[in-house]
Each structure stands twice: as C-alpha cells, then as structure tokens.
C-alpha cells in the first residue's frame, strides 16, 4: 500500500488522502496514517511543484559540473561530497561511475555567479582535482514531464 500511495503522490503532490483512498479502494484514515508514518521516517521528504521556469521569464542559469576528486582515507568520496552539497547553490549532487566522480547540478543568477562558485568555492576544496562546467542551454524534459509541446489528446468526443 505504501508504494502505491507514494506513486500517486510522486505524480501529484496535491492528491488528497480522500482521493487516494478512493483510487486504491481503501479508507481515508489508513491513507493518512501511512502518509504520516512515511513523513516521519523520511520516506517522504517534501512536496514540491514542477515548474516550467522558461515560461516565467526566469533569469536563472543552470550548469552541470563534472568533478574529479581524490577519495580520502576513511571517508572515501563522502566527505568531499558533503563539502560540496552544503552549498545551497548545489541543487543536486550525485556520485557517478565513469570518467568523473561527482556530478553537481548548480543554479545561479548568471553565468558569472556560477563561474565564481566553481572558481572560488568548489575547485579550491581539498581533494578536488578538476571541475568542468557545462551550462544547460534548454530543458526538454524534466522528471518525466515534457516541458513544452506536451502531446494533446486528439480524440473524437463520442465513439461507440
């Protein structure tokens, strides 16, 4: 039941316990209890909204930074990752397999701001060997949602 509820909430954070209960054929109380528990256990972290900022004339700039690091005795990659993810500019931080180690998604008000962050905050961190910055030019799809030009349903109104 938990997984089913989470799947519905992941798709629509505004689904009410009442509606979820109807969709799953269970009681509202049960759904509310399961959600509360999931929140307490940190299984549900936050309810967010997916926004197409391009349509809001937002001036923000995003970049994906590939970071190569030297893992440290005892803490491996974790300590360096923490030093990076503590910065609010770092919106997502992942440990990667392949040619680099950490992928850092950074948001800033301008390219300049991101360059400053990389040059003054990220690169100087001890253990960071190299960082290459790739600016995001256009978002086509985010979290499974196509940002622009979502397909319309082209159906006839009545079909027997």
């Amino acid at each position: 039941m938990l997984k089913k509820i989470l799947k519905i909430l992941e798709d629509d954070a505004r689904a009410t316990p009442e509606r979820i209960a109807t969709m799953l054929g269970t009681s509202e109380d049960e759904v509310t209890a399961i959600i509360k528990k999931a929140e307490a256990e940190g299984k549900i972290l936050k309810y967010k909204t997916l926004i197409n900022w391009d349509k809001v004339n937002d001036e923000h700039v995003w970049a994906l930074i590939e970071v190569q690091v030297s893992p440290q005795r005892d803490t491996g990659y974790d300590a360096i990752a923490e030093k990076i993810y503590r910065f609010p500019q770092a919106r997502s931080v992942y440990l990667m397999s392949g040619t680099y180690d950490l992928a850092v998604l950074v948001m800033g008000k301008s390219m300049h701001e991101i360059a400053d962050f990389v040059g003054q905050k990220l690169s100087p961190i001890e253990g960071v060997r190299a960082a290459s910055t790739h600016f995001i030019m256009r978002r086509y799809k985010e979290d499974g949602e196509i940002m622009n030009g979502k397909e319309e349903i082209k159906r006839q109104p009545v079909i027997l």
Binding site: M23, L24, I153, V158, I159, L160
Partner: protein
C-alpha cells in the same frame, strides 16, 4: 422516412443494407459537435497515445521502405509472435501458418467471422446490451440476431440457461464480448464453463470478442478458447487497440481452427488484401515489449474506475461494479428520465457527454455508458457537473 421508402422502391439500396438501423443517437452526435467546453465520458478508446517505442518502430519501418503489401494472412513474424503470446498467456496452441489471421481491427475480424460461418437464416445469439457492431454484422451476413437480455441484478453477465432457452434448430453461433462494452461486466470462469457446455451440447460455434481482455480489475480474464475442449469450436477475436492504446492503427486478429481461418482469409484477401504494413510492424513491437506499458495502464485505469464508480454512487445513481474494460454503466432510473433524454439534457445543461444505454440495445434503457479512460481531473469535474444535474432533476 419518405426518402427511405423511395430509396427502397427504387432498389438503390439493398434490402440487406436497409435492414441495419442507423445509429439512433445520430441527432445526439450532431448536437455534440455544436457545443463547446464539453467533458466527454462518451469515448470508447484509451486517452493514452500509443507508447513511444511502438510508434517509433512504425516510423522506422516507413523510413526503411516497408511500404508494400504483406502476406494476406499478415507478416509471418507477427503471426509467430502472436502464436507465442497466446501460448504464453493461455497455454493455447495456434499454428501461425493456418490458424491465425491478422485483420483491420477486431471490426474486420468480426465481419469476416460472420461471413465465413453464417448462412441465410442462421441465428446468432448475443447479449442485450452488447457492442453496437454485433447485430449489424450478423444481419449483413444474412443471419438473424437473437438477443438474450441481461440485467444489472445479474451484473450484466450472460446466463447459460437464458441462452439455452433461445436455441432453435437454426442457431449457429453464440457471439459474446466480455469484458463488455458498454457495461464493463466480466464473465466469471464458472459461468463461462456453463455456456461452453451449452455450446458443445448443441454443437454451436462460440465467437468471442476479447478485445478488452487485458483490462480487468481484481478478477482474471478467462479466454473461452482456453476452456477444455473449446479451442476447436471457438473463434477468438482480439486486437491491440485497447491494451496497447492503438485504436487508430486498426490492427486485430482472429484465431480459430484451420477451416474457419481459411474461409475468413479468402474473404479477407478479396476485400482487404492485408492489414496495413506499418501497423503490423507496430503490432510486432507491441507484442515483443509492450507488456510493461499494459501493466501501467491497467493500474491507472483501476484508479480511475474506483473514482468513477464511487463518484456515481455518491451522486445517488446505482452502479454495479464494473470489473473490466473502461466503462461504468450506472442506472439513471431514479431521475425518471429515459436514457436518451438524460444524455441529451446532461449535454445541453452541464456539457458532459455520455452515451445513452439504448445505443447498445433495448436492455440499455435506464442506463448510460460513462467511459473513465480520461484524466482524473476531468472525471472529477464531470462527476461534479452530473451531481448538480441529478440533484436538479431527481424525481420527487
């Protein structure tokens, strides 16, 4: 009416064609076109577009020049995949070379099956209400449709005894479509077994339209042909439209014994040649790797089904629990209105389109078909509008 008579007198239109009644709700359709902002629960198809990997396979086939006719029976690879699929799903063996035929949707398969087995005057038993094409397909092949009433009290399931009571020495076949369009009813295994028994005892052919077989909720679909001893006397019709959201591709199939498939193939090769090549290639892709998308869609439909049924009941319309397809079939008798009047006024007053139950037979009177293959947001909005409507018109 006058014009109809003149046409008959002049014999321009054949008697056979004149005998099929045009859809009684034509007027309703015309009305629908003139109103804006309508929420439609009147459709009979998924609101998903075909999964991308299937569309992509068809596009690739066009790019690669698969633009010619295929074998009359269908691309061998598709029939092989289909044979494997039926075997895996029902443990039922069909020889891909002689016992399968790829058609232009189940609609063509139904027409072929009728023309292949019906002689003038042969009777075909079917449920009332039932899918709109069943009666005309029998009439067009010279047969006589014989209706067996089904009711909400019996969950719109066909009863073997009712069928047996209608059997005469002219009865040739029983035509069944479950999960049902329009009612959403699913035939439970024990009832199907009894019908199979009646068919065997009276030496009747079972023609089964199982296009909605994937769309069942909390109950297993039983394939008629998979019941013991039934393969030889069953014509299994199905397709890809509903399970893989491929309605516009027009691709279906028939599975039956060699003799019937050979007869159907003969008619098919002179009237259709072959199903569209690109659609056949898309169907191969659907069979090979479409299973995941089906499971996801079924789960999603089930959510909407529960919201729809609960919503209708909250409005005060009695609604038996549909266990298949994507239709709810609530009773509107408490409003005192006839089905057509209800549908028409609901459309005009609240801009919600539903299909009057009478479109599917006399026993559909007092019911409407509500399709829940539409977004939850729209379902909820439609239910809200229907609530106002029903409250306004409830019989004192």
């Amino acid at each position: 009416m006058k014009q109809d008579k003149e046409e008959k007198d002049n014999n321009i239109v054949s008697q056979r064609a004149s005998r099929i009644s045009p859809s009684g709700i034509r007027k309703f359709f015309d009305l629908l076109g003139s109103i804006e902002g309508v929420i439609s629960l009147g459709v009979g198809e998924p609101d998903y577009t075909t999964p991308w990997h299937i569309r992509e396979a068809a596009i690739y086939s066009i790019e690669n020049g698969f633009t010619m006719y295929t074998s009359n029976s269908g691309i061998p690879e598709l029939r092989q995949e289909l044979s494997r699929y039926i075997q895996k799903r029902y443990e039922l063996e069909y020889d891909w070379k002689t016992e399968l035929l790829i058609t232009v949707g189940v609609s063509e398969a139904l027409d072929l099956a009728m023309r292949a087995v019906i002689d003038p005057g042969d009777e075909v038993i079917m449920s009332d209400p039932c899918y709109v094409a069943y009666e005309p397909s029998v009439i067009l092949s010279g047969g006589v449709p014989v209706k067996v009433p089904t009711s909400e009290e019996n969950a719109f399931e066909l009863d073997a005894r009712d069928i047996e009571a209608k059997i005469t020495n002219k009865t040739k076949a029983i035509l069944m479509g479950y999960p049902s369009n329009p009612t959403g009813a699913v035939m439970p295994w024990e009832k199907l077994v009894k019908i199979a028994d009646v068919a065997c005892r009276h030496n009747l052919l079972m023609i089964v339209d199982e296009i909605y077989s994937h769309l069942v909720y909390g109950i297993e679909h039983t394939c008629m042909a998979a019941l013991p001893g039934m393969k030889e006397c069953t014509v299994l019709l199905s397709g890809f439209s509903k399970s893989y959201a491929m309605t516009g591709w027009r691709i279906g199939y028939a599975a039956a014994n060699k003799e019937i498939i050979a007869a159907m193939t003969k008619i098919h090769q002179y009237t259709i040649m072959c199903a569209p090549t690109m659609a056949q290639i898309a169907a191969i892709e659907a069979l090979k790797s479409g299973e995941d998308s089906v499971t996801e869609m079924v789960e999603d439909y089930n959510h909407r089904r529960l919201v729809m049924v609960k919503g209708l009941r909250n409005i005060g319309l009695s609604c038996f629990e549909p266990k298949g397809a994507f239709y709810a079939f609530p009773s509107i008798k408490s409003t005192g209105m006839k089905s057509e009047e209800f549908a028409e006024r609901l459309l005009i007053e609240e801009k919600v389109a539903v299909v009057p139950g009478t479109a599917f037979g006399k026993c559909g009177e007092g019911y409407i078909r509500c399709c829940y293959a539409t977004s939850l947001k729209e379902i909820e909005e439609a239910l809200e509008r229907m609530k106002w409507f029903v409250e306004r018109h409830r019989k004192a």
